[in-house]
């Protein structure tokens, strides 16, 4: 964390290399988070780029105050996703796998088999907004529970409860069997 703090400090002073390092560290995570939230690869690419451009333009206003850089960056991504979804109401445009589209009526049993991102996007649509956010931040963003709590403005206990209920719901939706 100390390393990241000094990187952010340098980035705030317009050190290109420091910002480039932060970019490399979070690029994949932000891309995954946005992909899962909006379910469209092309739009996720555009928005991922925009997140970093926005971060670059507002880095000088970033202050630690107990909020880690990753939480600040994911906040930017979250706000962008919310704006995007507000502007457009249509459903995710990943090519939908028919067997999964039908899974609500005739659940496909999943154990060792793989699930792809399209299937996950569809499954998460059945969760509450808060549960979706926890899954996206925790599994796509790979953030620890403490940071998820800070980004969502909730206590760690509340996020753990949401995480629990989200995984239970996903298990039912995906019909995971032992």
């Amino acid at each position: 964390m100390q390393d990241e703090q000094s990187l952010v400090q340098r980035a705030r002073q317009h050190d290109e290399e420091a910002f480039a390092e932060l970019y490399e560290k979070y690029f994949d995570k932000i891309y995954r988070y946005i992909s899962l939230k909006i379910g469209n690869r092309i739009e996720a690419e555009d928005m991922t780029q925009q997140v970093f451009i926005n971060a670059l333009s507002s880095i000088s206003s970033f202050k630690w105050r107990g909020l880690p850089f990753s939480a600040w960056l994911f906040r930017i991504a979250h706000n962008q996703v919310v704006d995007h979804l507000r502007k457009k109401t249509r459903q995710p445009t990943f090519s939908l796998n028919e067997s999964i589209t039908a899974s609500n009526d005739n659940p496909q049993k999943m154990t060792e088999q793989n699930m792809d991102i399209e299937q996950l996007v569809l499954a998460t649509r059945n969760l509450t907004i808060a549960q979706q956010e926890v899954i996206a931040l925790r599994f796509a963003g790979e953030l620890p529970i403490s940071q998820v709590a800070k980004i969502m403005g909730k206590s760690e206990g509340a996020v753990k409860a949401l995480q629990h209920s989200a995984v239970v719901s996903l298990r039912k939706i995906l019909n995971v069997v032992q």
Binding site: H14, E16, F19, A20, Y23, F27, D28, Y31, R32, S35, L36, R41, I42, E45, T48, Q49, F52, I53, L56, S57, S60, M110, T111, N114, M115, D116, I117, Q119, L120, I135, A136, R138, F139, A140, E142, P144, I145, G157, K160, A161, Q163, H164, V167, V168, L170, R171, L174, V176, V177, Q178
Partner: protein
């Protein structure tokens, strides 16, 4: 009770997501909860794997390049004098060096120098200066594509000499230049590089299932086939009136032809290098072909 289980589940998820431990590790840590935990952790593992998608190499390279440009713009507009000063000094110094060498005919000598030559750093400096003095993004892409041919020759030369380290260093340099090409071609809004931008025009590229025009009205290129040279019919596609109006298709032809030439050169050299450098050479081939797949739209 519920809170306690939520803590246990969170600990297991931390192990699974962040530390890369297995479900069995978690179950062994909490044997009394194993029955309840198992299906939840299986769900979590499925979720983790599905969410772990990778950005395509084309997007990664293009985004990185555009971010670098934004960084440089931000640095110069916000008064990062160090960065601007460094750039100007480097350009001025390289120009002076090249002008001095040109008088002695050294530019020609450095042009053929290999990575183990004392003139090699001058060769790279000259290339950088050429790039600095090239203002069109399309011309830059062409120039860098030309440089990739030199990198390939250097990689082959060093592989034949059994110098593994320099083959790897050359591959890194090649990788950077290929990333720049992908970034530059995307930067110039040549959306024909991205199949997603295709508009349904009804017309198709001969011999393919790809539409002829894109949202920019540019001609779609044929897919890259590394084992075959472009056919005359391919050229005909590029020489349509639309192609004359836009530089992009001819640029793509050049990039793809360079890709084929470079790939063939590396593959041909495989049998001529010592066994010790063959893995590094294969890595160079993989790097090269991945990027040309990205450019041709077959890599995503």
């Amino acid at each position: 009770m519920n809170k306690e289980f939520e803590n246990v589940l969170d600990d297991c998820l931390e192990r699974l997501i962040v530390r890369g431990e297995t479900i069995e590790d978690c179950l062994n840590a909490y044997p009394q909860r194993a029955d309840t935990l198992k299906s939840l952790l299986q769900t979590a593992l499925l979720t983790k794997n599905a969410a772990g998608i990778e950005p395509s190499p084309r997007f990664r390279a293009s985004a990185r390049y555009q971010f670098r440009i934004a960084l440089q713009k931000a640095a110069s507009s916000k008064g990062s004098f160090l960065s601007v000063w460094r750039f100007r000094l480097a350009t001025a110094l390289t120009t002076i060096i090249v002008m001095l060498m040109a008088g002695g005919g050294l530019v020609v000598a450095t042009g053929n120098s290999m990575p183990d030559s004392p003139f090699y750093s001058v060769k790279l400096a000259v290339e950088q200066m050429q790039l600095n003095l090239t203002f069109s993004e399309l011309d830059k892409a062409r120039l860098i594509s030309e440089f990739t041919g030199r990198r390939v020759s250097e990689i082959i030369h060093m592989a034949q000499k059994g110098d593994n380290d320099r083959v790897i260093a050359g591959t890194n340099l090649l990788n950077n230049q290929l990333e720049m090409i992908v970034g530059l071609t995307d930067y110039t809004n040549n959306l024909w590089l991205d199949g997603s931008a295709i508009k349904e025009s009804g017309q198709m590229v001969p011999g393919t299932d790809r539409p002829l025009t894109t949202t920019t009205g540019l001609i779609m290129p044929p897919p890259l086939v590394t084992s075959l040279p472009p056919s005359p019919s391919t050229d005909a596609v590029f020489q349509s009136p639309l192609a004359e109006e836009n530089e992009a298709p001819s640029l793509l032809t050049i990039l793809l032809q360079d890709g084929i030439d470079n790939s063939n050169a590396l593959r041909d050299s495989l049998s001529t290098v010592p066994e010790s450098t063959q893995p590094a050479l294969l890595e160079a081939i993989a790097v090269l072909e991945e990027y040309y797949d990205a450019i041709s739209g077959t890599g995503d």
